[in-house]
Each structure stands twice: as C-alpha cells, then as structure tokens.
C-alpha cells in the first residue's frame, strides 16, 4: 500500500477547506447574507447536494458523528450515498439517531427532535436567492439585498392570496433573518420554519451550483414573512402517523394501491423508529380488531 493515490481527509484539499471555512465564518458574521465561494466540482451531479457536501467536508473532524437525511429519511438514495461517501473519505462515525449526531446534513427537513448547541445542521440548497423568480437579474437582486428593498417578496405573497385566498407557498417559504436579510430556507417545508427561530444549533446552507454559502447562527431571530391579516401558518395534519401514532409532526403521504388506499407516515424516519421502540403504535401496526376476535 502506498500513500500516493489516497484522498485527503474528507475529500477536499486543505486550501479548499480554508476557503470554504472563511466563507462560512463570514456567513455566520452576517446572518442570512449569501457569501459567494469558489464551489468545487464534487463526485456527484449538481442538485444532489454538492453545496452541502462541501460545507460538511470543511467542518467535519475525525471525532464527529454524521447523520444524513433526505426528505427526513435516513434510508433514501441521496442520504445513503452521501453517508457512504463520508465514511469512505473521512472514516467518521455515522448514525441515524438525531441525538447522537454532531453534524446533520439535510435536504428538505429539520429533524423533529429539538437540536442542541453541540450540533450543526447543514442544508443542501438548490436556489439560494429568494428573489430569483421575481427578479431574474443577479445584479439587481444583490442591490435589493444591499439596500433592504424587500417589497417584491410581499408582491409574491400578495399574488398567492389574490389567486388562492391564502398564502399557498408551502416550501422555501421566505424568512427574515435577524431583522435584516430575507433568506430562502431552501426547499424545507414551511412546517419547519419555526424550528429555525432561536435554534440552539448552528445552521449552515450550501449551494454548490449557485456557489453561495449562508448561515443562521444559534439563537438568531428567524421570522417568516406574512401579512397582518394573513398571518404565517404551518401545515396541519388531520391524521396521526400510521406507524407510530405521532401527532403534530410532518407527515408524508404514501400511496398503497391503485384503489385509493393511502397512509400517512412520519417524514422523519428516525423520530418514527424511536417512538415505536418506546412502545408507541399507530393505526396500521395496531393489532386489528378482526384479528383479535
């Protein structure tokens, strides 16, 4: 065995990590501000989390315990392959338990379990610019951020109410961070927006294709934009989780057959498993009455 053809710890070379860490520090210093960085090519396609992977690679150390989730689940393709990637290039411990992890890389969801001060949440962001679909010019959106001209964001919400009678935006719901920058919380459902507010954990956002990093430091105000007469609301679910019976969590709808059969199940798989281990049982796992008779 020779040392020659091996990877540097955590794939990226040390100079690249320094560059990304500098961008992260700047992002933490200016909450919600999008810091440009020289995004590298990663061994995966854009849109699979190249930004998040670079952020994770720059902050991970040999002592860290990594958890990767995609749509709240630990066992989907994206989560499995990113977890395997860091096992291979950094040889770090990995876990699916939220409470054991020190770094959680996520796409779409914030774990149901409250995060602590010793944890970092890394988001994979496809489009970091909240004003993008309203104003296509990058020069103009930067100016709007610099001069705090955010009227346009409310135009979008106004349109939602005018056409649908309510704010119909359900994900990537714009927030104002620390009373200054309007930020796109990436494709997380608006259900998770309140969890960002005054979070104990550091939240880092990496957009690889768009080459931007931004951050929400711990204990920072994160306010979802709304109107006085149409206040911000999160999704509400009428059902409980079919497996663990959890209420007030974010649920995924799973189609069971082609006859209209469906179930609602926790999107956070770790949370669901943990509850089942502790004896909570949902509708589908409960022994049915017919069977008991």
């Amino acid at each position: 065995m020779t040392d020659l053809a091996t990877y540097n710890f955590a794939y990226l070379d040390e100079q690249t990590k320094r560059m990304i860490r500098r961008a992260i520090l700047k992002a933490i210093a200016i909450p919600g501000y999008q810091v440009p960085f020289a995004s590298r090519e990663m061994p995966m396609p854009y849109g699979w989390g190249t930004g998040g992977v670079q952020v994770t690679a720059s902050i991970i150390g040999p002592e860290d315990v990594l958890k990767v989730i995609d749509q709240g689940a630990d066992d989907t393709t994206n989560a499995v392959s990113i977890r395997a990637f860091f096992q291979k290039v950094a040889n770090v411990a990995v876990t699916t338990h939220t409470s054991d992890a020190t770094i959680i890389q996520t796409r779409h969801r914030i774990p149901e379990q409250k995060l602590g001060e010793n944890q970092v949440l890394v988001y994979q962001v496809p489009i970091p610019e909240p004003l993008r679909f309203l104003e296509p010019r990058e020069t103009e959106t930067r100016k709007m951020h610099a001069l705090e001209e955010y009227g346009l964001m409310h135009v979008k919400l106004y349109e939602d109410i005018a056409h649908n009678g309510r704010i119909s935006k359900t994900y990537a719901y714009p927030v104002k961070v620390d009373g200054r920058y309007v930020m796109d919380p990436s494709p997380t459902p608006k259900f998770d927006n309140p969890k960002m507010h005054m979070s104990d954990a550091l939240q880092l956002f990496g957009a690889g294709r768009e080459k931007r990093i931004y951050a929400v430091p711990p204990y920072t105000e994160v306010v979802s934009l709304d109107f006085e007469d149409y206040p911000f609301e999160i999704q509400k679910f009428e059902q409980d989780c079919a497996l663990c019976g959890a209420h007030g969590v974010y649920l995924d709808e799973v189609v069971l057959d082609d006859k209209g059969g469906r179930m609602f199940v926790c999107s956070d798989t770790d949370h669901c498993e943990d509850r089942r281990e502790h004896g909570h049982v949902g509708e589908m796992l409960a022994p049915s009455k017919e069977a008991a008779e």
Partner: protein, 258 residues
C-alpha cells in the same frame, strides 16, 4: 404655486464620448407645474429626462430637489439607497412602453400594490382596497384586479402604469412619451385622464414628447430641444402660437392638419 421651486436644474450636460446628448440645460420647476420637453427624435429629450430622474448620470451640472422637509438636496450627492427610495415614493416614472414600467407576470392589483408593500404596508386588505380604488380612478374595471397586464390592451396597460406610479402620492412624475404607440382616440382619453389627475393631485410633471398636441393639452410650459440644446423656452401657448426660433417655427408648422 409657492415661491420655492421643486426642482432646480443647472448646467446639466451629458456627453456620449465626443457626441452631445444634451448640453447646458438650466430650468426650474415649481410644484403643480407641468413642463413639456419637445423636439424631434435624437434631439436629446430622453437623455435629459433620464439625467433628471437619476436613471443616467450627467457628465456635468447639478439637479437639486426639494425634499418633503423643505431642504434642497443634490440628487447626485445622495446615496443610492436614498435615491431609490425617492424614486419609488415621491416620484413616478411613466415609460413609453408600459411593459418597461409594469411587472407583466403579476396581477394588476399587485402591480399597484408593489410600491405600498415596498414602503412597509403589510395589510393585505388595505393594500387591495387602495389598489382597486386606484384602478377605478384610471378607469380600469375593478373586476380586472386579479388579471395580469398581459391580458390588458395597450391603453389599459398605460393607465395601469400611471396608477402604479401615483399610488404613493408622488409630487413629481416623469413621463416619456406617455401616449406613444396608442391610437388617437385612446390617446385623447388618456390625455384627458392625465390632465384630470395632474390637476386634482397638484402634481408637478415633466413630459417628454414629440407630439405637440400632447404638449398643448397637458403642459403649462415648454422647452424645445434641438441637437442637445434647449433652443426655446416659454409658456406653452406662447411657444406654439408665436414661435421665435426658426427651428421652432418649422417644427410647429409641420403639424399635419386634417
């Protein structure tokens, strides 16, 4: 009209390399006054308008504006944030092509409401009420409030653009050929509407046009431009009825008579 002007323009020049855009323009504009800038195309009308409305940096000269607190400020010594704030509250800019001044992909109501939201209005019901009020003032039926300007005729778009500009109660409106590209009967209605609004609201306006009829109907005073220079300046009726400069005489007599 009060004793102090709203806008003081002195020595404004704009050069494109060695070419003259406009040269050494001086005038003052009082509150409630409508000034028309006329001239053939290429005479520097639009360059001058853009210099005055901070859309284009002049090569020399100063433009001072009396803020709501009564103090004059040089527009080119303000910060960009202040200038942009001024442009979307105290000023209006009506483009020749409504598509330049409107957001074509959001509804008419949101187009009118945008300025209100930009200055911090956060009550949907009130924004909508103001928007529908302004739509009816510019003679757009209020049941069109949720339609996009794409679905509007040229005349309606232009009226919507005017409503969008006037909703914050500006004191000064710049108009670049506001009736260009509209057919004659629509032009007449639009001019009638504009004249009413300018009178009712006591707006000051600077209107760039090559159409002398527009100048006659809307403006109190008039400046005639040729090759970047202001060659004649006076009350509209005086300039049109008794033009002094040979070029103005030619210009006035070239109006087609039907």
């Amino acid at each position: 009209m009060t004793d102090t002007p709203l806008l003081k323009v002195s020595g404004v020049s704009k050069f494109y390399g060695s070419r003259i855009g406009c040269k050494d323009v001086n005038f003052e504009l009082w509150p409630g006054e409508v000034l028309a800038i006329v001239g053939e195309s290429g005479s520097g009308k639009t360059t001058l308008l853009n210099c005055l409305s901070t859309r284009l940096m002049p090569t020399a000269g100063s433009v001072e504006y009396r803020m709501r607190d009564g103090n004059f400020r040089d527009l080119y010594h303000m910060s960009e944030a202040e200038r942009r704030f001024l442009m979307r509250t105290d000023w209006g800019f009506v483009h020749q092509n409504p598509a330049d001044g409107l957001r074509m992909t959001v509804s008419a109501g949101a187009n009118v409401g945008e300025r209100l939201m930009a200055i911090g209005d956060r009550h949907y019901g009130k924004i909508r009420e103001t928007a529908s009020d302004w739509l009816s003032r510019v003679e757009i039926s209020t049941d069109r409030i949720d339609d996009q300007p794409r679905a509007f005729s040229g005349g309606m778009r232009q009226r919507l653009q005017i409503a969008r500009n006037l909703v914050t109660g500006p004191r000064l409106v710049f108009m670049d050929e506001p009736t260009g590209g509209l057919d004659v009967s629509v032009q007449a209605r639009l001019l009638d509407l504009l004249r009413g609004l300018v009178n009712d609201l006591g707006l000051a306006a600077i209107v760039v046009t090559h159409d002398l009829a527009v100048a006659r109907l809307l403006s109190h005073r008039m400046m005639v431009m040729k090759d970047g220079h202001v060659i004649e300046h006076g009350l509209t009726d005086r300039v049109l009825d008794d033009p002094r400069e040979p070029y103005t005489q030619l210009f006035v007599s070239s109006i087609l008579q039907v």
